[in-house]
């Protein structure tokens, strides 16, 4: 994610880029705590929007939908870190992870363990679309669902490339969708958006 030169031609300063070690060091020295909602995105430490009840309830709903459906086939991780690179670590709402859970005892999941990642977007919609989705595509997360609470649809992104996801589908109330990695798992959009 890069700063643009503004129309006035003001040159941007070189903001210090942090890596994951420094990010965890800050946690260690108490600059933020594990309850702080911050993410590391391309070396920049960004505050996440405060969690609204509407958003939180979507996460609980998604967890409820996926846990029984996935069983042992995937680990359902809610609001936990996902390590994309040395300089990017995000906190997606939901991530389906390759089992077993033990795999993640020593290290956070990385893109090759994450068949599906889900972000719930209300106030953060522009940010999710313009910052997080391209980030996930660049790091080859195979599939992302954006639960769009503003326009009441689930946006399904597949076929990541460095330029972004190539394939996008919209699913509305009444539709059913399946993760590409688990085509037999049926998720009703109604259940998620309700």
């Amino acid at each position: 994610m890069k700063q643009d030169k503004t129309a006035a031609g003001i040159s941007e300063p070189i903001y210090h880029k942090f890596n994951v070690d420094e990010f965890y060091k800050m946690l260690e020295v108490g600059i933020f705590t594990e309850d702080d909602r911050v993410e590391l995105i391309e070396g920049e430490i960004l505050d996440m929007d405060p969690m609204t009840p509407r958003h939180a309830s979507r996460d609980m709903m998604l967890n409820r939908v996926f846990q029984p459906l996935m069983g042992d086939r995937a680990v359902v991780s809610v609001h936990n870190p996902v390590r994309l690179s040395r300089i990017s670590e995000t906190l997606p709402d939901i991530a389906l992870l390759a089992p077993p859970v033990d795999r993640y005892k020593e290290a956070h999941p990385t893109p090759d363990n994450i068949p599906l990642l889900i972000e719930v977007a209300d106030a953060s919609l522009a940010y999710d679309r313009e910052v997080k989705l391209p980030l996930y595509a660049r790091h080859a997360i195979p599939e992302v669902w954006l639960v769009n609470l503003v326009e009441l649809r689930i946006e399904v992104f597949r076929e990541p490339s460095p330029q972004g996801y190539r394939a996008i589908r919209y699913a509305f109330a009444g539709d059913a969708i399946s993760p590409a990695a688990f085509p037999d798992i049926i998720v009703r959009v109604d259940e998620v958006l309700a």
Binding site: Y15, H16, M26, D47, D49
Partner: protein, 194 residues
């Protein structure tokens, strides 16, 4: 990457703002290796570009010139921090400070203790002019000089206000400059530019 209708304003990105205390904790935690020159400006940690020999020589020259000419009247500060507000701790190239018996051992100088601040700019002219100089103005530092090595002149800023310095003079080769605090000290521009 577009996903249908574009929402007009770009995504808001909220960078975590760091306080000077947090900044110090990071430094004490060993986060910035010795060669990592960083300063804190409005809560953002900014990398300082490693100086070229032209820049470094100019700063040494300023130090020597002032040491010889103003003696003990101010305290000379070379690339040391100023404590401007809880979120800003810049490191100007050179500054003249109000004399203090502890020589600022107990805390970094505050804005009202700064008689003159000098930034030497080779590649960073715009950045210094548009970000650092206004920062000094906002905190009421009575005079700032921007030694512009690129255009070979000195920009003299006076009359600080919240909106920036109200008075700007350019001094060229052949002209002289004098600090407001020491009007008897008359320096030739070419002496400073080197």
């Amino acid at each position: 990457m577009t996903t249908g209708a574009q929402v007009a304003p770009p995504a808001q990105v909220a960078h975590k703002k760091f306080s000077a205390d947090e900044f110090h904790k990071m430094i004490e935690g060993g986060m910035f290796i010795e060669d990592d020159r960083v300063e804190l400006l409005d809560g953002r940690i900014v990398d300082m570009t490693p100086p070229g020999s032209g820049h470094a020589g100019c700063v040494k020259g300023l130090n020597r010139t002032f040491a010889v000419r103003v003696g003990d009247r101010p305290i000379l500060s070379v690339q040391d921090p100023l404590s401007l507000d809880p979120f800003s701790e810049p490191q100007p190239d050179f500054a003249l400070l109000v004399p203090r018996s502890d020589i600022y051992r107990s805390n970094h100088p505050r804005a009202h203790e700064v008689l003159l601040v000098v930034e030497v700019a080779d590649s960073s002219v715009r950045w210094d002019r548009e970000t650092k100089i206004p920062l000094y103005a906002r905190h009421g530092i009575q005079e700032a000089w921007l030694v512009n090595l690129v255009d070979q002149h000195i920009e003299v800023y006076r009359e600080p206000s919240i909106k920036g310095y109200k008075s700007i003079r350019h001094a060229f080769v052949g002209d002289t400059v004098s600090p407001l605090a020491f009007p008897d000290i008359i320096l030739k521009v070419e002496e400073i530019l080197g």
